[in-house]
Structures are given as structure tokens and as C-alpha cells.
């Protein structure tokens, strides 16, 4: 399991797409923190305080993390099936370990990226926003699990790429829309996205409930992958 996780983790740090995402992530985080420092007093008056430094990162994650995660993980399983490299894995380890390994690899990649991004803010904020980090990791985990599920359910990488991008654009729109509408359908969809839980106020623990979703996505992926002929 950790062999596969480490392989995923390593390959993510060497892919051009991942490197570009890391640059954007770090760039936006530092840029936003610099901007916040210029308006520090005004933001303090508004009661945003130290939280404002991590706002750039959180905003970026809320709007773009589905796209970021999808673009690098849409084919995490089905590419191995399409290329048939999965045959080497599935004859050497269990399918559960393959799925867990894939998830852990991507989870570690994003956890490290987000930790480093928040560390870059420390010189500006003079503190490390551990709760923001935790929430950011949970938020991204939703999309890692979701992408893993998509990649396990659909065998064609081109189709998961298309679906992934489409849903990455649709989900934030639907999720944020659901927070301000009375349309019951949009509201139900909203409950299935992390956006509802992340907009329930700073002091609520709703955001931590989102951790249930990646667990469901992983279990769904396991169920499908264990039954799939390779």
C-alpha cells in the first residue's frame, strides 16, 4: 500500500502539471498574504484578523481545487487499466491496497503542498493556521476521493478527463448556489458538495463532517474495483 502511495507521491512531484499547480498555489497564497498585509489595519477593524492571511489560499481552493485535483488525478486508476500496468500490480498486491495506496499518495501530495503554502504565509501572519490547514486538507480530500471514484468507475481516461473538468466547473457553482437558493433540487445537490458545510460560519464544526465523503468515495471505489475484471 505504501509502496504504491510513495510511487504516486513521487510521480506527482515530477509531473509538469503538478509543478504548475504548486507554483499557482504558492504564488496565489504569498500574493494574497502580501495584499492582506497592505490592508492589515482595515481588515483587523473588520474582525478578520490573522485569518485574512490564509483567505487567498482558501478562496483558491474553494474555486479551483476541484479543477486542480481532477487535472492531475482524473486517470489515477483507469490509466493503469488502459495501459494494462494494473496487471503487474494486481498480481502482486491486493486491490484494496492499490486503491488505498493511490488515495494516500495523492492525499500526501496535497497535504504537503497545503502545509508548505501555509508555511509561506508565516512571515506575514507570524502564526501557523493549523485549523485552516486541517480544513483545507479535508476540503481537498473530498475531491481526491471523488476523482478516485470517478477514475475507478469509468475505464476511459479521456472520459474521466472530460467529466472531471465539467464537474469541476459545475460543482463549485452548484455548491455555492445552493447556499443562497430555495430550489430544493439545488439544495440537495448542495448537501452533497463540501461548499454547504464550509459556509456554515467560522465557528461551526460542519466543515469536519466533510471527511465522511472521501470515506464513502473510497468505499465505493473499493467496491467497484474489487469486482472489476482487469
Amino acid at each position: 500500500m505504501f509502496t504504491i502511495a510513495f510511487r504516486e507521491f513521487r510521480s506527482l512531484f515530477t509531473s509538469i502539471r503538478s509543478i504548475l499547480i504548486i507554483i499557482v498555489l504558492f504564488g496565489v497564497t504569498v500574493g494574497a498574504a502580501r495584499l492582506v498585509r497592505q490592508f492589515e489595519e482595515q481588515l483587523q477593524e473588520l474582525g478578520l484578523g490573522q485569518d485574512a492571511y490564509a483567505m487567498g489560499l482558501m478562496l483558491l481552493l474553494i474555486l479551483a481545487s476541484p479543477l486542480f485535483v481532477t487535472s492531475i488525478a482524473h486517470n489515477v486508476v483507469n490509466k493503469e487499466i488502459a495501459d494494462r500496468t494494473i496487471r503487474f500490480l494486481a498480481t502482486k498486491t491486493t486491490r484494496n491496497r492499490i486503491i488505498f495506496g493511490k488515495f494516500i499518495g495523492h492525499f500526501l501530495f496535497w497535504s504537503i503542498c497545503l502545509t508548505v503554502a501555509l508555511l509561506l504565509i508565516v512571515p506575514f501572519s507570524k502564526s501557523f493556521a493549523i485549523l485552516d490547514l486541517l480544513q483545507a486538507i479535508i476540503f481537498v480530500s473530498y475531491f481526491i476521493g471523488w476523482t478516485l471514484f470517478l477514475s475507478t468507475s469509468i475505464t476511459k481516461p479521456a472520459l474521466t478527463m472530460f467529466l472531471g473538468i465539467t464537474l469541476s466547473i459545475a460543482l463549485p457553482i452548484l455548491g455555492l448556489w445552493s447556499t443562497g437558493t430555495d430550489n430544493w433540487f439545488i439544495k440537495i445537490v448542495g448537501y452533497l458538495t463540501p461548499y454547504f458545510y464550509y459556509t456554515q460560519g467560522d465557528d461551526s464544526y460542519y466543515a469536519y463532517l466533510v471527511v465522511i465523503f472521501p470515506i464513502i468515495f473510497i468505499l465505493g471505489s473499493l467496491l467497484i474495483f474489487r469486482k472489476r475484471d482487469l
Binding site: S11, R84, T85, D229
Partner: protein, 303 residues
């Protein structure tokens, strides 16, 4: 002891039955050849045994481990799948390191290099797989199948698409591994290869095993006559008459060449008697060639 045993193993896709209630047992330490046309169900059968495909019904055991004990089975087998690509960003050595870690096999770097050298990849140890030819990928496929020193080795078309030298090398590897007691389950389109290497052969067609046995048993089933070509000195018409009369008692078929120097007889296992007849009648025999049916002929008779 049986290395592998299947019980009514079946795989269907929709209405099509690809593998149909196969009961097969493979003895430990043998090289078992699995033959069949494209689409006969050979690869599907191997893929079920190696855990890549789920059987629709039936079950199997590998070295006494039931199908559900996948972890035990994985530790005991090596698999070269029918068609596989490798990770473009990995070198040959990276692949072996990765796969040996997955199997929890504590191999040193030198040991892994030795495996690569054994399959003829000594010049490609640090070359990335994206630069590999088809033949090199096949060799790497064999190398990865050997890393856990398997008790049973499944080789699906190990020599297809590789050059003649590589074929010889692969044959010598198979012989070497088999000599150590490893059971080898081999599928191939190269009938000469199967005939040369295998102790036992099963011929599969449309999902069922049509024939099974060693070469002698298969020959006995498919050819009632053994043809002997005999080259002898020129004989007179009188001797020719004697030959016809004499050999008619021993054979059903007698063809005498126009030059009177070669005859073809169907001996049905009476080779010593035929030979003795020539000696008794003082006709020098220069060459006696037994023409037994090849596996290819047997295979073609099944079609």
C-alpha cells in the same frame, strides 16, 4: 502433488461463454503447454487463475491454496501477462525494485540486476521503459515474473514478437527454471516451442479443452499410422515384387518411389520388423526416417 487444479472454471461475457467448465490439473514440476487459436479462451483462463478476472462460476486451487487466498497465491506465482506496457518514467531496475517491494521480497540491488542480466537486459538496466522495444518489454515482463522465485510461473505468449536469439534465451531460462522444480504454465502460438519445451499439453478450443496429454498421447490419439521413409539401394524388379509381398504383411500402406530407391510404409509401430525384413533380403538401407505427426499437424486436425 498438483500445482494447480481447476473445478468447472467458467467465464461468460453476456451470452458468450469464453471458458466453459474447465477441469484441469497440472502436476507440480511440469512444463504445461496451453494451446489454442486466438480467442480460444487461453488468456481468459490464465487471467482467472492469476486473479485478474473473476470467474463466473467454478473455482480453483494453486498449490493447495483456494482461490480466495489471493495473498498466498500471489506469493507463490509469477505472471507474465499476454500484453503489457510498463511505466514510462521507470527504468528496468526501477520496475523490479517497485514490484519486489509490492511482493515484500527483500532483494538487493545486485540481485535485481542479476535477474535483468539473466533475461538479457544487461544493457538496459538504467534505461527508461519508454525507450524499450517490444522485445525488451517482453524480457522485462519475464524478469518481473521471476522476482519472487515463484513456484508456478504463468507465461502468456513469452516469445511472441521477440527475435530468434531472444527466443533461444527465453527457452533456456524456461529450461533452467523448470530444472529447479518450478511448474511452468505456458501459452504459445509457436507449436514447435510447445512441443520442444512442454511435458504436457492441453489444446483449447471455443472455451473447452479438446485434448490433453503428453506428446506421445496426443500423437496416439490423432495419428493411427507412423510413416517410415526408407532409402535403400536400387533394387531389381524381382526384389521389388518380393518387397511388395513381404511388406504387405507388415503394413497397410506401401508406396514405392519411381527410382526404386525409396519406399514409404505405414508401420503402425512395427519398425523393427520392417527393418529386419530389409536385412534378411540383403537390401542395404541408407536412411530410415520415422515421420511422426508434429504438434502443428495435430493442432490443425482439430480445426
Amino acid at each position: 502433488m498438483e500445482a494447480m487444479q481447476t473445478y468447472n472454471l467458467t467465464k461468460t461475457y453476456g451470452n458468450k461463454t469464453v471458458v466453459d467448465h474447465i477441469n484441469l490439473s497440472v502436476k507440480k514440476g511440469t512444463i504445461f503447454g496451453f494451446l489454442g487459436k486466438n480467442g480460444a479462451g487461453k488468456s481468459t483462463f490464465i487471467n482467472m487463475i492469476t486473479g485478474l478476472i473473476h470467474p463466473t462460476s467454478g473455482s480453483f486451487e494453486i498449490l493447495g491454496h483456494p482461490a480466495g487466498k489471493l495473498k498466498d497465491i500471489q506469493q507463490a506465482i509469477g505472471v507474465l501477462p499476454d500484453y503489457s506496457t510498463f511505466y514510462d518514467d521507470f527504468t528496468a531496475l526501477d520496475h523490479l525494485k517497485y514490484f519486489s517491494k509490492l511482493l515484500h521480497v527483500p532483494f538487493s540491488k545486485q540481485e535485481l540486476i542479476a535477474i535483468l542480466e539473466r533475461v538479457g537486459l544487461e544493457d538496459a538496466i538504467h534505461v527508461k521503459a519508454k525507450n524499450f522495444s517490444f522485445g525488451m518489454k517482453k524480457k522485462l515482463g519475464i524478469a518481473q515474473a521471476l522476482i519472487n522465485q515463484p513456484e508456478i510461473l504463468f507465461l502468456d505468449e513469452p516469445t511472441s514478437g521477440v527475435d530468434a536469439n531472444a527466443v533461444l534465451n527465453i527457452h533456456s531460462i524456461i529450461d533452467e527454471i523448470a530444472a529447479k522444480g518450478t511448474t511452468i504454465f505456458l501459452t504459445s502460438h509457436n507449436l514447435n516451442e510447445v512441443e520442444k519445451l512442454c511435458d504436457e499439453i492441453a489444446i483449447m478450443n471455443q472455451g473447452v479443452i479438446q485434448k490433453q496429454g503428453n506428446m506421445k498421447q496426443l500423437r496416439d490419439q490423432f495419428s493411427q499410422e507412423i510413416i517410415i521413409h526408407i532409402q535403400h539401394r536400387m533394387i531389381t524388379e524381382e526384389e521389388q515384387q518380393q518387397l511388395k509381398t513381404g511388406l504387405c504383411e507388415l503394413t497397410d500402406k506401401l508406396e514405392i518411389d519411381e527410382t526404386n530407391s525409396e519406399i514409404v510404409v505405414s508401420a503402425n509401430g512395427r519398425i523393427p520388423q520392417v527393418n529386419k525384413w530389409f536385412v534378411q533380403h540383403d537390401i542395404d538401407v541408407f536412411r530410415l526416417e520415422v515421420d511422426e505427426p508434429s504438434l502443428e499437424e495435430i493442432f490443425l486436425q482439430l480445426e
